[in-house]
Amino acid sequence: MKIPTLIAAALAALLTASQAKLNVVATLPDYGAVARDIGGDKVEVTVMAKPTEDPHFVDARPSFIVKLRAADVLIEGGAELEIGWLPPLLQNARNSKLETGKPGRVVASQGIRMMNVPTTLTRAAGDVHALGNPHFMMDPIIAKAVAKHVADAFASADAPNAATYQANYAKFEQTINVKLQEWGGAMLPFKGRQIVAYHDSWPYFARRFGLVSEIFLEPKPGIPPSPSHLVKVIADMKAAHAHAIIVEPFHNRKTAEKVASSTGAHIADGAQFPGALPSTESYVAFMDVIVARVVAALKE
């Protein structure tokens, strides 16, 4: 009887030690921001990609292996955005909690109806994502769904704090609902207007707020803008009366400036990730700034 008791005690000690704080790794800063909102002070969040870098190309730094090995929960997009760097990290992390299908593995795109799923797969179309456009977090309604998913994962990984996570989710949801009125109201005058994007990362945002995002500075996803393509973009913009171009921190702003000067358009310095712009650490603060910048560019 003595030995099983000892083992049980040791296990209990191990469990309580590991539950000091839930270790969460998020591949991208938007998932990280949501994880912080849901986890509050009960979680320790590590984000792999920097908010200002191209999420398709993140270095698989070995220090991430250490973080993944100690992680209780991993939040990833699961829509091929991280395909170039996450698989080797997970192979090396050897953390059974993060295996596909386990509650510790949050695949944010799960349950989301993806846009622009290619009907035929060919790289002649550029670096297309077989599972659809992965930039879905720009739709706040989808962000709520992801937040709920995160809250459920935290609750199952850390049962004693389950109520806190669900309460934080309720708060997040309510904030987004209130904010949606504000953002939707601000965007309302621009319904149906074109927003030109450097890369096709705004379809979800455009759909939510009634904009049209059909003109891109990149000729094909991942292929740098060529002079002949930009000539076409300028013509298309004039035909569509497009007056706003949105660029992200890692894009070549000079290309956008050239197009803007030929079309009289205004540039919105946007981003895909909380933290990429000043004082946008949380998802809501980030969307506040994005909406304000898009509105400002459309207004002029």
Binding site: T52, Q91, E99, L131, W183, F250
Partner: protein
């Protein structure tokens, strides 16, 4: 619509009453009826969905709420999703929908809770956006053969074609790696088929099959790698088994198409072997529970044949280190090749990373019964990539490796060679690659190899030498590259070989098909 169709068909009949046209007219009528019915059905479905949503809302709201506004009943066209209209109901603030069932797939996690109260205490309005459910807005998922998550196996195919010009008549003797350009003119010495996937919940497996076209355009096939490894062992342990690259240094475990230069470094090709060091065996690795990344690896391989050139290798012409070889079999544990490695990585800053490693390889060689070889290596890799980077650019990578090999070369088969010697060979390379603009990278590499001169051991590879290489690479996309490289080789004289200088130029083209490769650091 029906009337119009009838009118059209009537007119057609009156003019030229052929059976074919009658049929056409009927077909058209049927099509129109089908469209109309479909539209009616869609509208009805939407109505039902809206009513369900309303019922759900009413169930969840304790107090009797304000009467919910009905979404417009008109069937929307199958254009891009219509946006919710920003209607202002009497007495309330502007309301924007806070839920949208159409963004979620039915029956999957997660479910969104009903909307909370809108600002100003107004009653919530159930708002969905059924127009987004219109068929045709979301294409069906494509059937893919070689893509993440859609098939049991990822398949990719990668080919390197290199054009070469050189002052050396025998480029194959100047270049040290088996997949390097070997002849003046065109070379295709590394055409690779790579497969990987999860075997079951416990193992994942990789295979790299290399097709190599030799100077006579004959194809040879190499099973470069074929191994499985565990996925979920406890305590950060992993076990690997099969044919695999020995975990020695930095370049050795990398496939040639991921190299930053068109050819192998001198130490890699001469001290480990033209094919690098790889073989059949098993490996245990352990990610240490340290705060920084550190991993301990121990591989055990047969260490036999041309892919273990410094170990039990009878040699292509029956000699190793100039001596007629004995074909030594595995008799005891110490006859295996053992390859331990320790690597560590430090994040110097958010934009700078350093990876350092120390490796060794121990095993017998084929020059005598107690003949043994030891190889030691240290390597370092540093990368800088700024916080704002597009497509991975810009960056600076610095990589360097140094190796030392000690060979106890005995007297060979039947003690036929005049003497036993200990040959101590060493060398290093250092390279810097600067990705200066998206899709472009420039590289500079310096190589040095010291082969201990011996008045007895005649082998045309035993020549001390240095090399300077520079290149420029253009990546049109992640899946193709074009590289121009210049090498200057200087080979020192030895007891048997004269000194010489050679210049070579390579134009290398690579393309990759299939599954998206992932890059290790």
């Amino acid at each position: 619509m029906l009337l119009a169709a009838c009118a059209i068909s009537g007119r057609v009949l009156a003019q030229e009453p052929s059976v074919q046209q009658q049929l056409n007219a009927l077909q058209q009528m049927l099509r129109e009826m089908q469209t109309r019915h479909q539209q009616e059905m869609d509208a009805l479905k939407k109505e039902i969905a809206d009513q369900h949503a309303t019922i759900e809302e009413l169930k969840k709201i304790p107090a009797p709420p304000a009467p919910p506004t009905q979404p417009p009943a008109a069937a929307p066209a199958a254009t891009p999703p219509a946006l919710p209209t920003g209607k202002t109901p009497p007495g309330g603030p502007p309301l924007f929908p806070t839920t949208d069932d159409s963004v979620l797939l039915p029956g999957t996690l997660p479910q969104i809770a009903p909307p909370a109260h809108a600002p100003g205490g107004a009653a919530p309005i159930p708002t969905t956006d059924p127009s987004m459910l219109a068929p045709g807005n979301f294409a069906a998922s494509p059937i893919t053969l070689a893509s993440g998550g859609k098939s049991y196996l990822n398949i990719s195919f990668d080919a390197i074609i290199a054009g070469a010009a050189s002052t050396a008549h025998d480029l194959g003797a100047l270049e040290v790696g088996d997949h390097d350009p070997h002849t003046r003119g065109f070379n295709a010495r590394n055409i690779e088929l790579a497969l990987d996937g999860a075997v079951d919940p416990f193992f994942e497996a990789f295979a790299n099959i290399v097709f190599k076209l030799d100077s006579h355009n004959e194809t040879s096939v190499e099973v470069e790698e074929a191994f499985a490894q565990t996925t979920s062992m406890p305590l950060g342990l992993q076990v690997k088994a099969g044919q695999f690259f020995a975990p020695f240094g930095r370049i050795n475990p990398m496939h040639p198409h991921t190299w930053d230069f068109a050819d192998a470094s001198l130490v890699h090709g001469r001290l480990l072997g033209a094919d690098g060091l790889r073989g059949i065996g098993t490996q245990v690795s352990w990610v240490l529970p340290t705060r920084w990344y550190s991993q301990l690896v121990l591989a055990v391989q047969n260490g036999e044949g041309g892919t273990a050139a410094s170990f039990r290798n009878t040699g292509e012409n029956g000699t190793q280190f100039g001596r007629p070889t004995i074909d030594r079999q595995l008799n005891r544990v110490s006859d295996f090749a053992f390859i331990p490695r320790l690597e560590m990585s430090f994040d110097l800053s958010p934009t700078r990373t350093l990876l350092v490693g120390a490796s060794a390889a121990f095993g017998p060689n084929d020059t005598g019964v107690n003949a043994r070889t030891q190889i030691y290596g240290v390597d370092a890799f540093y990368k800088w990539k700024p916080a704002k980077s597009e497509g991975g650019w810009p960056y600076v990578k610095w990589q360097t490796e140094a190796m030392l090999r000690r060979v106890s070369a005995r007297r060979g088969l039947n003690d036929s060679f005049p003497t036993s010697e200990t040959l101590t060979d060493w060398g290093m390379y250092s390279q810097v690659v600067w990705g200066f603009s998206k899709g472009w990278a420039a590289g500079l590499r310096g190589d040095y190899l010291h082969m201990q001169d011996s008045p007895f051991t005649m082998e045309d590879t035993r020549q001390s030498r240095w090399r300077i290489s520079t290149n420029l690479t253009w990546y049109p996309s992640e899946f193709s590259k074009l590289r121009l490289q210049y090498n200057h080789d200087f080979l020192q004289s030895s007891s048997f070989l004269p000194r010489r200088d050679e210049d070579s130029v390579f134009l290398q083209f690579e393309f990759a098909l299939g599954a998206h490769g992932a890059h290790k650091f």
